[in-house]
Symmetry: C2
Subunit: 419 residues, 2 copies
């Protein structure tokens, strides 16, 4: 809603990038429209804990309108973007069109199957709350099915869990699955045995967590192994079917395959008609803008930024947050735009209930202290006092009791309605 | 799994009745199989708070297996009962058959539309978590739709909320909807106005909460009116369509109609081939058994019990809990069964954020003190320390901030997958 001389900024996406861009523009001299398909900002780093039933969806999500309530110049629209015309400067949804002076595309990424999209149905990925609830249902239901399948050949397949991809998400998922399977669920199913359950983590490179220091990769591997996860490195997935995963030398029978191996940028990037990398990310200049369109910026997981760097910036929350703040400040600066400089605050991954690894420049540490830093940082980053307190209580309770708080299954019939 | 001389008790349903029956049989001389369609026990009295986004599903549900973990003689089966043969004493599911010595049917009730089942699609009811999530989505989405419909005739219809049925559930829903609509959502949608929102509670009898003392009904009506709810008594619903509710003298345009007017017992009761009342409840004798089958008991919402009473027992949690404990004790007693006697611990209903009405025999009170008794009782009754603490925090937070914790919408496309 451009009024008078005020510029109109359209932001697509309410994730870390888009929300931080909107915050930096709050109650300034521009008008802002933020468009998202959902009504909430999702704290994605903890999504794997919803998938493994430790947290409820409400614990890691906040309505975007509530976060931006005091921003009188920001309009929030829940709708699906179906068109972007960079020449006429118009964003369209099925219900409306929005003319912009500046566009910030912060549409994130989805998991990608390297062209093997038919794998998705057998190996769901984890990007939003629907994904997490789908995986959670499957994890919980498999134990119910396994109990009914005792004595049949299916039992082994039902109780084999395979995570494809040894990056932070895959490692966190495998650790969390090992805990929920072996420590939470197994005691509730007295007719099942420990040795019937298998958890396998598959990584194509020669070590997991390859973006970290090799020493930390080794520590993570040891921690996972102790927790009951088999870590297979230098292992490529050749096919995924209803029955399991075909590796080069082995077929793993499994009804529970989770995909954490690859991402590609939101399909909205294609609408910009701009050069992309092979992951579908827009290749942006030092201002996060696309060629010939300084008024169109792409940030976060949807951007490929490599100016002055040996490799492009990683698709993580801190990149998106810094870019969001940066592009908004440049819009307010007007003609005296500054180039983007990324400040690396380090990387973390958590392994199971109470271990983590942390790498901040030269500082590399692991174990309980790393986990405490991880937990503290994530609690602080979670928006909203209420969510912080709730997550803290859930965690304390879980660490004491091994009873995660969100193990719910609706009835079987109703399950079918949620594919 | 009957072993040797041990009797086998099959319990259908893991609600208040079935779970209390199983608890009373824990580690005794009988073997027990508890069959439920879901994996969780649901604390139904707080379901309306999930529907109005104050609580998450995980806050009011506990896995049945976890509750009965220490019961070594109880097997829990997640499955759908499709047949009961009272002559051959067999319960069947699509996957298995269970021969029993004693059957406890605790299958609860569903909302009923008095033969107008076509109303359900326009006026969903509230019995399980799926219902609650469906209503929650609709409530939250309607504000997003309304903002897009400003200036169109649809706006009024979108922002009119109608609750049909002035019993405790209807009153609690209407109060909670008034609060979430007027105090939580409205401030997030600055382009909508207070006067565009209408909340109507419809009751066929001449007063709401007719099972309570008339004085308390009047107090509840006054409290609801102050909160912005229009209470229409002696008003019958003639039809419900996509556009709204047809009353005898008036058509209420509304896209948000919720049904809280009637219940009928689970269809499983029909499989017993036993006399039923017009709500489909099995008419049971003083031992909660059906005629000619002392080994088949029906308890809770599925039972019609009126021995020595002027009217049948109400379908509330305390009836089900007492019956569950009672039938299990009788099974253990063997041939010296005692008749059931109900102990009335009073009734309560809550109206909005911090008011309630309470009636315990001659003691009738309302207001904040009644609400504190209500909150205390429900916190104590909620299973599991963790849930108690979480619900308490959610409530305290909500009462301070008016920001309920579970206002999430998935994307529009995905909404369609959850009818």
């Amino acid at each position: 809603m451009p009024t008078g001389q005020r510029k109109h900024v359209v932001i697509i996406g309410g994730g870390f990038g888009g929300l931080n861009a909107a915050k930096a523009l709050t109650n300034t001299s521009v008008d802002v429209t933020l468009i998202d398909r959902t009504n909430h900002h999702l704290f994605q780093p903890l999504l794997y804990q919803v998938a493994t039933a430790a947290l409820s969806p409400g614990d890691i999500a906040q309505p975007i309108r509530a976060v931006l309530k005091r921003a009188r110049n920001v309009r929030v629209v829940m709708d699906e973007v179906v068109g972007i015309d960079v020449d006429r400067r118009i964003v369209s949804t099925p219900n409306a069109s929005f003319a912009y002076d500046h566009l910030i595309l912060a549409a994130g990424s989805r998991h990608s199957y390297f062209g093997r999209d038919n794998w998705e149905v057998h190996a769901p990925g984890l990007k939003d709350l629907n994904d997490a609830l789908h995986i959670r249902r499957q994890l919980l239901l498999t134990f119910e099915k396994a109990e009914a399948a005792i004595g049949t050949p299916e039992l082994h397949q039902l109780l084999t869990f395979v995570v494809v991809g040894g990056g932070p998400t895959g490692v966190e998922l495998a650790g969390a699955i090992a805990e929920i399977a072996l420590r939470t669920m197994l005691p509730d199913f007295p007719r099942l045995h420990r040795k019937q359950i298998r958890i396998v983590l598959i990584e194509g490179q020669d070590r997991i967590l390859s973006s970290f220091d090799p020493k930390l990769s080794r520590k993570a591997t040891r921690a996972l192994t102790r927790m009951g996860v088999e870590v297979l490195t230098s292992t490529r997935v050749e096919n995924i079917s209803e029955d399991g995963v075909q590796l080069s030398n082995l077929f793993l029978h499994s009804s529970n395959v989770i995909w954490a191996a690859g991402n590609s940028a939101s399909p909205l990037v294609k609408m910009l008609n701009t050069p992309m990398d092979k992951g579908g990310r827009a290749i942006v200049d030092e201002f996060c803008a696309i060629p010939d369109h300084p008024e169109v910026t792409v940030i976060g997981d949807a951007a490929h930024f490599s100016h002055g760097l040996t490799s492009p910036l990683q698709a993580v929350a801190q990149t998106a947050m810094q870019m969001g703040k940066f592009v908004s400040k440049n819009i307010l600066r007007g003609d005296v735009a500054k180039p983007f400089r990324f400040s690396d605050y380090g990387s973390m991954a958590t392994i199971g209930r109470i271990r983590a690894i942390t790498e901040i420049h030269w500082l590399k540490y692991s174990g309980v202290i790393a986990w405490i830093s991880w937990a503290g940082l994530h609690i602080v980053m979670l928006m909203g006092f209420r969510n912080r307190l709730k997550v803290l209580i859930e965690w304390i309770w879980y660490y004491i009791s091994f009873q995660p708080g969100a193990r719910l299954l609706m009835s079987r019939d109703q399950e079918k309605q949620h594919p």
